[in-house]
Structures are given as structure tokens and as C-alpha cells.
Subunit: 439 residues, 2 copies
């Protein structure tokens, strides 16, 4: 198409955006590749999934070798155990990733569907059709599974993707992207559809944030600092999320034994996850009996309870569990550990008020046998996911039946909660007339 | 609810965001009001529409008096005729606004509908339900119709709204907002659901951009400079749009006489609109016969054609119409007048390439009898609205059957094209279990 060269020449002409040029080239190539991807049928995009899952298994030895180098380097650099654990790939994890990609293959394709349409009074036949976003950029930490998951999700939905993972996973990510690129080429598709920014400099990320000419959506997956950087400096529309200060409110009507199992799951199953419990709110009418049982239940898991003054009053010494007083800021932090805050509230209204102050709009749960309390909680708490008698840990693309997820959005625009295939699309209005003019 | 005071105290605690406090108060009050609005039934929100339409007609004398003062001031300050025209209200225009609000009343309510849901393997019953965004802020120019339209649209969908219109319409907007406020109070609803920022200082807008704690979406409606300010400085997610460099491509297969009528409509009906024609692309195989007919057809409307070198070659002198050569930057500007660019291209591919370089993703049209050309144009051009044999002027919430519009989005995230009721909503995932834990 004639536009290719001229578009590049023109788009490159903006002053002050060129930087070292490497990031820009990556973005421009991704934009070109996105046009080819957008033209593929559902069947062809699904066949990429099969080929990709097969390739990851076939090429496992090379991928695991690269990963072993990253893990060794991380250990000698003293990376924390939990971060190192996220970095590790092995045969089983790779099989899990491949299995997830095969699930994606079988999911319905949002692209190309007609969302709605009508015949207008003007005679125009109007349709609204889902199309890929175009180019999606994801900046993340040392999690190689994200590299594969996000690539597959973007290819499933006809998007090109630009990846920039943490430096600790550099070799693993390069190996994964090489496998994905070779797989695309074997299907006669451009390997530039999945791009990796090879620089581990922060300046490369800052340069990427200016590439709104070529990139349609930026997804930061990392800590609060990365999110702030993106929100303040990005010219690309940003999908923020992944910061979860999640609450559980145990109402006076809740079953205590069952509640303790849910609290245990929400805190212990994966404390470093964004959907893990950070603050437990207990109804004051049951606090005197509930809190000692909570301490007894959670002590074997090595938990530390950060108690509000109100909670302390209901938990006489000896407490049988590590405790600390809630300090300034504790209600607004992700513990990412086996710590959590415990506070006693007057009732559902106070619980909702506490969550409005401190929640990050991620996942919030109420445990109650009272239908009116459940309904009010779900109506009045403003978050991506609300749970009645369930663990906050369910907020996840796979659990929600969406296949993989590119992130968990805590913003209200575009997508909320797990960012699945539909969230990687936009739509076009198309209208057909007979040389129609507006009256 | 207990949260009201404490939430305010806490949220106000962020350093550096307070400014003079007036804008912040407006935003906090709107947030409080949004919670009440979000709890209203469809019927109650629709009854606001009826009351609002009635009140605008009943209170017309006061509104028109305020408007007369604004118009007189604008005339003596030498405001341009086209801007003054946008500012003027009269009985007929007010009736038109009220009629639009009555259309909104009858439109389906997106809020509260279940978008989808399923029973998950974990036993959870998952639902996705549309809810209001919360608080929407709109910054616009001297168009009092926007004040009424946007207020009605936000109230229809359960959102509070913060308005900041152009200083030329200050008295009119104050009168309108007073009528809306009294109408809300007569229905036992908080008048703070529709707020007006009374300061005409630009600093008030800059302060508003920092209010992401209370405001969920910012819609700038104005020139490119306002959009840039918002994109670069806003911490609130921004819905950009309204900048339309719209093209029509006349294929060699198009009927010339019918095409001229469409071009006339797209340029002349309302040259200042964002969906008006700015650049006409003509297939080279028909340029020799088409361009002289174009000149003859458009000359009586007082048009000026800005000709590319290729177009000049096909239009021998005397041209019978005002012309000028296309200058650097002309392809990227909104003429907002009876001027437009005329360029000759080799065919559909070159037309698509030109639009990729210079289009703003608003509205693009192809005039053709060739189904393959039509299909490729619609597939390959990336814009909010694509037209086959129709004027670009149709891109409008009313024309599309959405009722009023808060803006015309040219971004891909969240909403694209006319921002109607659905675009003022987000969703919540809600899941119901029996003390369910994730395996």
C-alpha cells in the first residue's frame, strides 16, 4: 500500500519525539503489522493459537535454558524469593501457559461481530462492528508468563503488541518472543506483530509513553510508581489497574466457620496477588466472639494481624497470633504478604464508608446471610468486582471464563476488572446509503 | 451514611490539589450527589427528563433574557458571526432542546441492564451489570445548547455532571443551570447533581483537571489546544474527540451528479461542524471530467478550493471558482469555513493512504458503485464512522438514534463516535457464592 512509506515519513516528522529511534521503529513496525492482523479471519487467528501453544512446548528446552540463566542471575543478585518464584519457568508452568492459549483458541471471537445496528430515518443502514484496537503496549515486571499470555490474547483479537518486561526476565522474554516470531512467520504472518523493547533502561519506557501516533493503548502492570508515571506522562490512553486494596466485610449474620475459610483463601492462597485480602472489616455485634476465632484460625498460617483500636478492644491478650497496631497509611497499602488489617465497624454502612475511603476499586466482598445487606453492599460499593459470600481471589480472566487477561482494570472507562478479549477491541460505525444527504 | 464526612476529610488531604477550594467543593458535592442518582430507578430518571423539558419551556423568558445579555456583550466585544450564532438562544431553539430531552426520556435505559453472565465452574453466579460512570465533567465553548443536552444525558444515565462553558455564554449557562437545579429540587433530588464552575479563569480548568479523586471522566469540547491541555495535564481519564479532518473519496465508478450533492451537503450544510468535509479525494481516471463540474457546482456557494498540484493539472483556467494552492499543513486542518482541499489520487489504495496520514479518526466517506471498493474502504480506514455513499454529516447522536450526544469521540478506548447514553456508563462484575473459595 502506498501509504506505508509516506505515512512513516510524515508521522516521524513530529519534533521531539524521536529519541534514539529504536523505540519508535518498534512502534511503527507494530502499527504496520497491526493492519495485516486486523484483516485476518477468525479461523486464521485461532490457528495462530494452536501453532503458538505447540511451538511453546516444542521449543521448551531453549526457553527453559534462557530462564535458568535469568533465575541464576536473579539469585546471585539477591532477588527476593517471591519475585524469583514469579520469574521461574519449568515444564509444568510452560504446559499451563500452552493450555491457557488453547482455551483462548476455543473462546468466541469478539472481532468482526456486529454489536448492533438499525435502519435510520434518513434511510441509512447503520451498523456497529467490533474491530481490534490496533497496537497494544504492555509494560510489566519479571513475569515471563505475561509475555506469552498477553501475546496470545492480542493475536487472538487481531492486535499487534509491544512488550517491555522486567530486566530480570530479559533472556526468558527474548527466547519467548523469538519462538512467537518464528511461529508467526511459519504462518506467513509478520513477526513484527509481537515486538519486544530490548532496552532495559527506564528511558525506553518514557520514550514509549510518547508514541501515541502508533500505539492505541498502554497497559502498565506493576507497582503504584509505574502507574503514576504512565498516568502523568503517557500520551497514549492508559488502562490502569492491578492495585488492589481488597476488603472483606463479615456481617453479623455470617456463618463464622465458613467465613474463616473464605478469609483464609483470600489472604493465604496467593498473598502477592492484587486480588488478595488486605483489610478485614468485622461487624461490632459479633466481634467479641469472631476475633478470637479469627486469631486461632489464622495463627497457623503465620499471619500478622494489624489491629485498629476498635479491633484491639475485642481481642484480649494473650492473642495467640502476631499483631501490630494499624498505623497511618496501613489501610491504603497492599501488604502483599501474610499481613492484613483488622477493623471493627458499626455495621454495613460503616463498612461501605470505609471501603469508599480506602478501596482501590478492585475486588470487595461481603459475607452475610442477610439478603438486604448483600444487595446494599453490591449496589453501594463502587468496584470492578463485588462478591457475596465468595473470596476476592476470583477476580481473574480465567476464573471469569474470559480466557487469559491482559490486566485487571480498576478504572471505569473502557474495561473494568479482567481485561479479556473484548476489552482489546473497539468498534467502527459503518453506514450505507444511496448518496444520502443530511436534511 | 457515615462515610460522607470522613471520606471528604480524607480525600481532601492530598497535598497540592486544593487550589482555591471552590472547584474542589464543586467536585466533592457532585460525587455525593452521584451516589443518590445512581440509586434511582429507570422511571425516576425518565421523569427528570419530562420535568426538565417542561421547566425549560416554562422558564424560557428568564433564560432568553440572560441570553440576550450575553449576545449583546458578544456583539459589542466583536465576537465573530459564526460564534455569536452558536451562542444565540431563541424560543424555537429552546423548543428544539426540550424536544431532544423528551426523545431521551423515551430511549431505552442502559443503566441496570445485565450485559452478560454465567455460572462458573466454581459454582459462582457471575453477572456484569451496567452502572453510571459517576461524575462526568465537560469543558466546552459558548454553546448553551450543550449545557442542557449534556445535563439531560447525564441525568438520564444516573451521572452527576460538572459543567464549565465558555465565558461568552456565562449568563445563559447560569440561568439554565438554575432552572435545572430548581427542577431537581422539585423532584426531591440534590441540585448539586448538575454543577457549574462559575469562574471563567483558565486556572479553574487547570484545577479541574487534577480532580481525579471525584471525577470519573472529562470531556473536552473545543479546539485542538483545549484537547492538548487535557491530554497532557488531566489526571482524570479524558474522552477526546470533536476534531474532524473528514474526507470524501469519489471513486471512478461514482455517479457524478449524485456525488456533487453529497459533497455539497458535507461541506455547506454546516461548515463549522466537526463532521464537515475538509478534503475531497478524486480518482484520477475521472478527475478531468469531474473537477470542472465540481467547480461549477460549488462556485455558487462561495467555496474556495485548495488544490493540490495534481488537482490543478486537471482544472484548466479560467476555473470559475476561487482557488488557492494547498499549502503545508492544509491537509491537517479543519477549515471550519466554505474552504476545502481537493486532491487527485491514483485510486482507492492511495485514498486510504492519504486518510491514514491526515485523518483524525472522525468521519470518512467513499462514493462508489463498486462493492469491492466500498468494502475495502470500510475495512481499511480506521475511523469512528465510515460512510458508503453518504455524507459525513450524519455522525451525530441524534442522527444515529442515540438521542443527544455528550461529544463525538475520536479515540478508540471506551467510546467511539457519538457519545450517547451507553458511553456514560461502566459496569460492575458481581458474583454470588456459598462461601466460595478459589481452588
Amino acid at each position: 500500500m502506498q501509504g506505508k512509506k509516506s505515512a512513516g515519513t510524515d508521522e516521524a516528522g513530529r519534533p521531539g519525539e524521536n529519541g534514539n529511534g529504536a523505540v519508535q521503529s518498534v512502534c511503527r513496525e507494530a502499527r504496520e503489522a497491526s493492519r495485516i492482523l486486523a484483516s485476518l479471519s477468525t479461523g486464521r487467528r485461532n490457528r495462530i493459537m494452536t501453532a503458538l501453544a505447540d511451538a511453546l512446548i516444542e521449543q521448551a528446552p531453549g526457553i527453559l535454558e534462557a530462564n535458568a540463566a535469568d533465575v541464576a542471575a536473579a539469585r546471585s543478585a539477591g532477588l527476593s524469593a517471591s519475585l524469583t518464584d514469579r520469574l521461574v519457568l519449568n515444564g509444568e508452568r510452560l504446559e499451563g501457559i500452552a493450555a491457557g492459549i488453547r482455551v483462548l483458541e476455543r473462546l468466541p471471537d469478539p472481532v468482526g461481530t456486529i454489536m448492533d445496528g438499525r435502519r435510520l430515518d434518513s434511510g441509512l443502514l447503520l451498523e456497529r462492528r467490533r474491530v481490534p484496537l490496533g497496537v497494544v503496549a504492555v509494560v510489566y515486571e519479571a513475569r515471563p508468563d505475561v509475555t506469552a499470555d498477553v501475546s496470545a490474547l492480542c493475536l487472538k483479537t487481531g492486535n499487534a503488541v509491544i512488550l517491555r518486561g522486567g530486566r530480570e526476565a530479559f533472556n526468558t522474554n527474548r527466547a519467548l518472543v523469538a519462538v512467537i516470531g518464528a511461529c508467526l512467520e511459519s504462518l506467513d504472518l509478520p513477526s513484527t506483530a509481537v515486538q519486544y523493547i530490548n532496552s532495559t533502561d527506564r528511558s525506553a519506557v518514557e520514550e514509549l509513553l510518547l508514541m501515541d501516533t502508533w500505539v492505541d493503548m498502554l497497559v502498565p502492570r506493576g507497582g503504584a510508581e509505574l502507574h503514576r508515571l504512565c498516568r502523568e506522562k503517557s500520551r497514549i490512553p492508559v488502562m490502569t489497574g492491578g492495585i488492589g486494596v481488597c476488603h472483606i466485610f463479615t456481617d453479623k449474620s455470617a456463618d463464622t466457620e465458613k467465613s474463616l475459610k473464605v478469609i483464609e483463601n483470600a489472604k493465604i492462597q496467593r498473598p502477592s496477588a492484587c486480588n488478595a485480602l488486605e483489610t478485614l472489616l468485622v461487624h461490632k455485634d459479633t466481634a467479641a466472639s469472631f476475633l478470637p476465632k479469627l486469631a486461632a484460625h489464622m495463627a497457623p498460617f503465620g499471619c500478622t494481624l494489624h489491629l485498629s483500636p476498635e479491633a484491639e478492644a475485642f481481642l484480649p491478650e494473650p492473642r495467640g497470633i502476631a499483631t501490630a497496631p494499624v498505623r497511618e497509611g496501613d489501610y491504603d497499602r497492599e501488604w502483599l504478604s501474610r499481613d492484613f488489617n483488622v477493623h471493627v465497624v458499626d455495621g454495613p454502612d460503616a463498612a461501605v464508608a470505609h471501603i469508599r475511603r480506602h478501596g482501590t476499586g478492585h475486588s470487595e466482598a461481603v459475607l452475610t446471610e442477610d439478603a438486604a445487606v448483600a444487595r446494599r453492599f453490591v449496589d453501594e460499593v463502587d468496584a470492578a468486582a463485588l462478591y457475596v459470600n465468595a473470596s476476592t481471589r476470583f477476580t481473574d480472566g480465567g476464573q471469569f471464563g474470559l480466557g487469559a487477561e491482559a490486566a485487571v482494570s480498576t478504572q471505569k472507562l473502557h474495561a473494568r476488572g479482567p481485561v479479556g478479549p473484548e476489552s482489546l477491541t473497539t468498534y467502527k460505525w459503518t453506514a450505507y446509503g444511496d448518496y444520502a444527504v443530511r436534511k
